[in-house]
C-alpha cells in the first residue's frame, strides 16, 4: 500500500516505512541513541530527498525519544538534573552549529564534509568502545580479578563549578556536561542527527555515569535538540514532512518500547560491545560509499533544493 508524502512529493510503501521505523526504533530503545544516524541514510536510500530526510528524521526523533524516555523513566533511569545541564550546552552548541553549517554550505562540499564527519567520528568512537568492552569482558572472565571502581577520576573532574548529580552518583564540575552538550549540539546541527551515538559513549567514558541511567538521560536531552531542529528546518527550509515522520513513528515507538525492554535484560558490557559493532558497521559502510566509484558520476537536482 503506497502513501503520498506531501512535502517529499513522492509515494512510498507504508509497510516499508513502518518496518524501517520499527527496526530503527528497536535499536534506539536498546542503546538510547536516537537512531537518526541510521534513519537518515536509510530514508535517502529509499528515495526521500536529502533535505527532507534530514528534517523529517528530526521530527520522528522527537516522538521516538519521548516514548523511549517514558519507558526508562518508569524504571527510574533518567537523571533529569544531568539532562538539563547537557541541554543548556546543547542548545548553545546547535545555535553555533547552524551558523557553521551555513558557512560550510557557502564554501560548498557540505555533503562531503558530513560524510567525513561521520566516518572519522564513528570510526574512532566505535574502535575505542570495541577495545574497551572486549577488555572488560576478558577481565570479568578471569577469576579473582579486582573490582572496578565506580568511575575513574582524572584532571577533567578537577574543574571548578562542582555540582552533585544524585541519580548518577557523581560530584563533578558542571562545565563537563555543559561542554559535552555544546560539542554534541554543534555536531548534531551539522550532521542532522540527535547525537545520541556520541553522547552515550561520552557519558559513560568521559563523565563516568552509571550505564543504566545513560540511555534515558541521553534520550531526554535528544527530545529537545530534535524539537529545536524540526522547528528550525521547517522555518528555514520547509522540508519537514510530518506525514512521513508520523508513519515512521508508528513503527518506531513500538520498536523503541520493545527495544528498551530487551536492553534492560542485557548486561552493560554486552550493550557496549553491540553498540560498538553497530557504530563501526555504519562507519565502514560510509567509508566504502565514499571511495567506491558511484554508478553514475552525475546527479541532477532542482535549483533551490
Amino acid at each position: 500500500m503506497d502513501i503520498y508524502l506531501p512535502i517529499a512529493a513522492i509515494s512510498l510503501d507504508v509497510v516499508v516505512l513502518l518496518a524501517l521505523g520499527g527496526s530503527v526504533g528497536f535499536l534506539s530503545g536498546i542503546f538510547g541513541v536516537g537512531g537518526g544516524f541510521l534513519l537518515t541514510p536509510l530514508l535517502i536510500f529509499i528515495g526521500v530527498p536529502h533535505a527532507v530526510a534530514v528534517a523529517s528524521s528530526a521530527n520522528q526523533l522527537v516522538g521516538a525519544s519521548v516514548s523511549g524516555v517514558i519507558a526508562h523513566w518508569r524504571r527510574g533511569n533518567v537523571d533529569f538534573q544531568m539532562g538539563i545541564v547537557l541541554l543548556v550546552g546543547g542548545i548553545l552548541g546547535s545555535g553555533f552549529g547552524v551558523w557553521l553549517f551555513a558557512l560550510l554550505r557557502q564554501v560548498g562540499q557540505i555533503d562531503l564534509a558530513i560524510s567525513l564527519c561521520y566516518v572519522v567520528l564513528l570510526g574512532t568512537l566505535g574502535a575505542l568502545m570495541l577495545v574497551e568492552s572486549v577488555r572488560t569482558l576478558l577481565r570479568q572472565r578471569r577469576p579473582g580479578g579486582s573490582r572496578r571502581k565506580l568511575h575513574q577520576h582524572y584532571w577533567l573532574h578537577g574543574l571548578p563549578l562542582k555540582m552533585r548529580f544524585r541519580r548518577s552518583k557523581l560530584y563533578i564540575s558542571a562545565l563537563l556536561p555543559l561542554g559535552l552538550g555544546f560539542a554534541v549540539g554543534v555536531l548534531s546541527a551539522i550532521m542532522g542527527i540527535g547525537g545520541g551515538f556520541i553522547m552515550v559513549p561520552a557519558m559513560i567514558y568521559m563523565l563516568g555515569m552509571p550505564t543504566s541511567v545513560v540511555p534515558g538521560t541521553s534520550l531526554f536531552q535528544i527530545i529537545f535538540v530534535a524539537a529545536n531542529v524540526t522547528v528550525l528546518q521547517s522555518v528555514g527550509n520547509g522540508t519537514v514532512d510530518a506525514v512521513l515522520a508520523l508513519v515512521l513513528l508508528l513503527g518506531g515507538v513500538i520498536g523503541a518500547q520493545l527495544g528498551s525492554r530487551f536492553g534492560a535484560k542485557l548486561r552493560g558490557e554486552q550493550l557496549r560491545l553491540l553498540l560498538a559493532l553497530m557504530v563501526l558497521a555504519v562507519a565502514a559502510k560510509l567509508a566504502v560509499d565514499m571511495t567506491v566509484r558511484p554508478d553514475d558520476l552525475f546527479t541532477v537536482l532542482t535549483e533551490g533544493d
Partner: protein
Amino acid sequence: MARLAFFLLVLLAPLRASWAADPLVADLTSHLIGITTGFTGTSMVLFGATDGPGDIVVSVRGPERDLVVRRKSRIAGVWANTSQATFPNTPSFYSLAATRPLDQIASPSVRALHQLGLDNMRIAVKDKLPPEEAAEFRAALIRTQQRDGLFGRDPGKVNFLGERLFRTTIGFPSNVPTGTYLVEVYLIRDGNVVSGQTIPLDVSQVGVAAEVYEFATQQALLYGIIAVIAAAMAGWLASLPFRRV
C-alpha cells in the same frame, strides 16, 4: 462528463471537418491531475479528430525548472562533487507519442523547429563550458530524468480509430512535479505541420496532502511546532499500552 464530451466530439467531428474551420480538434478527458495521499501515478486519455489523413504527434511538457547537474570525480581517494552545470528553464517532465516513428513523419529541420523529441528539445547550459563537456552534462541530465520516469524513453503510440479519430494514453509517475503542463498536439501532412493545438493540464496536490503542503509553506513556524507536538503526543500514546511493568 468526459465520456459525454468524447461522444459529442465523435458526433460533431465530421460536421466540423466539413466546415473546414479546424483541421485538428483534440482534448483531454480531464484538465486536472489531483495528487492525493494515495497517489501512485496516473494516466490520462487524449482524444481528437482531424479533417483527413495525416500523422499526429503529441508532446507533454512539465513546468520549467532550473536544473543543476553535478559531476563527481576522485580527489585523494574520495568521490566528491567537482563541477556542475545549470540548465535554466528546463521542462521538469517530457513525454512524446506519435502515430509512427518520428523520423518517418517529419524531416530533421521540422522536428528541430517544433522541438519534437528529446534530441531537439532546448536544454541548454547556462555556464560557459567547452562543447563536449556541455554535451556530457546534457546527456547526464536526460539519462537521470529518464531513469526517474520524468522523461519518456520511447515515444508512446497514437492510435487512429478509423480515418479521423485518434486517441492516446499519457502516463504520469508518482513523482510527477506539480504545476501547469502543456500538452501540444500536431497534425503533420507530407512532412509539414498543418495544424497544432495546445491544451493546458494542471497537476496539483488535493485533499489532505494539499492542505498539509499549503500549511507547511504558509505557516512554517506553526507547522514546525505542531509537527513537534504531534510527534511527542504520538510517542506518549504509543507508550501507554506498555505501561504495566
